[in-house]
């Protein structure tokens, strides 16, 4: 019985705990053991079994008292190590924050604890969430639990939420938080055969989340099912006065309103997403997705998002520009690493600290960002990119006249072996070509697993919705999930 608990998702655990089928403590113990047995995945930077047990005991105690348990009551989760957690090291997977112990709790994690969740540990990620393969972490690569049929090569879990994706698909966590700046929830979810949703920009508070590109960063859940995502997103979201861009809107009951009947809905297929270099298996899955949505009652319509091609290069100006500004705070003075070479002054200390603390990809992006914001280049690069961002958003706004949601692939390929792209930043960036446009436009977008390649690797389909219409995205995702019948699991090797 105990080992079976790790096969359960958010809803099954919550309902099982509240129904008395098992205790929250039994669940926490089962997942703590699974985490302890999966060191080979390197999914966690630190584990926090005591946090999970304490939260579980509190839930069991409330149940004994006949009190409500919360929408995440008794569910232990993995927390991406980009969320500040009081008293627990928070690193953003960077050496520069190694040993940093936040004195406060991020709003999103705080909301989750208030909803009855507990924490299994802090999940590995690409350093400062910059990466698409989880190979830029100072704390080592995360291995995907998936392998190509008949091979032993370590595969990428995707990134930047690679530890989140790996832990959920390996069933060492029933769900995990992710953050998505340009695909960092959706791409790893697709690679790992799980669901993940990035809500509308502003739904989840950014307070206490280590900043990468503030106009793009959004938190969201990664879990086994669309329903689990709906539940967990409901627990994470909500207005927060401490985040100036937080949406002052009620959080709908997404879970209660889930409905896979798409009669009367129009789903747009953007012709510009049919790109060279996309795997045939991905194109086939896209066709299959259309058929599933049609079967659910939706009308499929062709649409055009004419500036799609420019979204990725615009992103690679905007995100590094914001990152170069955000990361200026790592100065060796207030927190984190300090490198003070013998006899050096303040400026030398800054430069030495940042040289020692940042990884190569972070340095690359800070330098690009510094360059595009520097005098003489600002208009040609940054202003132009912000104008193109407006055009990308306008493309979507015009598409909504013809459709209610958009169906596209999540990624141009399935997962790749660790190390196979790490020498080629540009090819790596192309992984997010289908994910970035929705990020630039601040729209809710989700990846749902739809099948596996001939080599046994998972594929995801992406749904993009109108601003604030997470429900439309979740409902279309549910229609796909019900028809895809995705039950593939990675074979345990760790």
């Amino acid at each position: 019985m105990m080992s079976d608990l790790t096969q359960l998702g958010v809803k099954a655990i919550r309902d099982g705990v509240s129904g008395g089928d098992f205790t929250a403590r039994e669940v926490a113990e089962a997942f703590n053991a699974a985490v302890a047995g999966a060191a080979a995945l390197n999914a966690f930077i630190v584990t926090t079994p005591d946090h999970a047990l304490a939260a579980a005991d509190a839930v069991d105690e409330r149940r004994a008292q006949g009190e409500a348990l919360g929408v995440m009551g008794g569910v232990p989760i993995g927390m991406k190590d980009l969320f500040c957690t009081k008293g627990v090291q928070t690193t953003a997977a960077s050496h520069i924050l190694e040993g940093f112990i936040p004195q406060y709790e991020s709003t999103v994690s705080s909301n989750l604890w208030a909803a009855g969740a507990g924490m299994l540990g802090k999940l590995n990620l690409d350093q400062f969430a910059m990466g698409s393969s989880n190979e830029t972490s100072y704390f080592g690569n995360v291995s995907s639990p998936w392998r190509k049929d008949g091979t032993n090569a370590a595969m990428s879990p995707g990134g930047s939420s690679g530890g989140s994706a790996a832990s959920v698909s390996a069933r060492i966590a029933p769900a995990a938080t992710g953050t998505d700046t340009g695909g960092s929830i959706r791409q790893p979810a697709a690679f790992a055969g799980i669901c993940g949703i990035k809500p509308t920009y502003g739904r989840c508070s950014r307070w206490g989340v280590v900043a990468f590109a503030s106009s793009l960063d959004q938190a969201g859940p990664m879990a086994h099912s669309v329903e689990d995502c709906a539940i967990m997103l409901g627990a994470m979201a909500g207005f927060d006065p401490k985040d100036a861009t937080s949406l002052k809107m009620d959080v709908p009951d997404w879970e209660a309103a889930l409905d896979a009947d798409l009669k009367g809905k129009r789903i747009g297929i953007p012709r510009e997403y049919r790109m060279e270099g996309t795997d045939q298996a991905i194109l086939d899955s896209w066709e299959q997705g259309k058929a599933w949505l049609r079967d659910a009652g939706a009308e499929i319509v062709d649409i055009s998002l004419p500036h799609t091609k420019y979204a990725l290069p615009a992103y690679y100006i905007i995100a590094p520009a914001e990152a170069s500004s955000n990361l200026a705070r790592y100065d060796g003075v207030r927190y984190g690493l300090r490198d003070l070479p013998e006899g050096s002054g303040l400026q030398d200390m800054y430069a030495a600290t940042r040289a020692a603390g940042f990884g190569d990809e972070v340095k690359r992006r800070v330098l690009i960002g510094t360059y595009v914001l520097s005098a003489g280049f600002y208009d040609a690069y940054y202003t132009q990119a912000q104008k193109i961002r407006a055009l990308v958003a306008q493309d979507f706004a015009q598409a909504w006249a013809q459709c209610d949601a958009i169906l596209a692939p999540t990624t141009p390929t399935a997962s790749f072996p660790l190390g196979s792209l790490s020498d080629d930043p540009l090819t790596m960036y192309l992984n997010d070509v289908f994910a970035v446009p929705a990020s630039l436009a601040g729209l809710p977008a989700m990846s749902v697993p739809c099948g596996v390649t001939s080599e046994g690797l998972p594929l995801g389909l992406q749904l993009v919705g109108k601003a604030f219409d997470e429900q439309g995205v979740l409902n279309a995702g549910l229609a796909i999930e019900e028809r895809a019948g995705f039950t593939a699991k990675p074979e345990k090797w760790w």
Partner: protein, 100 residues
């Protein structure tokens, strides 16, 4: 536009990242690859387009003019603020001597 080693040295200095000659040499082609790729944005006619400033229309809020309204972001937390400092001394952040 492309950058040479001197440009990269200037950028690295602006970004306060120490880089030796070998690191600068390595970075030149990497940055030029990326800059060459984003160059295509110049093809887009953006005349008359306002650069985006807010992705989701939102009003800028002001908090109530109350001292320490939210205890999480309030004053009086010197120990917390200094808790992670590499060199906190006498209630301040410590830095190397600055002589200008």
């Amino acid at each position: 536009m492309s950058v040479n080693k001197a440009d990269v040295a200037k950028i690295a200095s602006l970004a306060r990242i120490r880089m030796d000659d070998a690191a600068l040499e390595r970075m030149v082609p990497e940055l030029n690859n990326i800059l060459g790729w984003v160059e295509q944005l110049g093809e887009v006619d953006t005349s008359g387009v306002e650069p985006m400033t807010a992705v989701i229309a939102n009003t800028l809020r002001l908090r109530d003019d109350v001292v320490d309204a939210d205890p999480l972001t309030a004053g009086g937390r010197r120990e917390d603020v200094l808790a992670n400092a590499p060199a906190a001394e006498h209630g301040f952040f410590g830095v190397p001597k600055v002589i200008e």
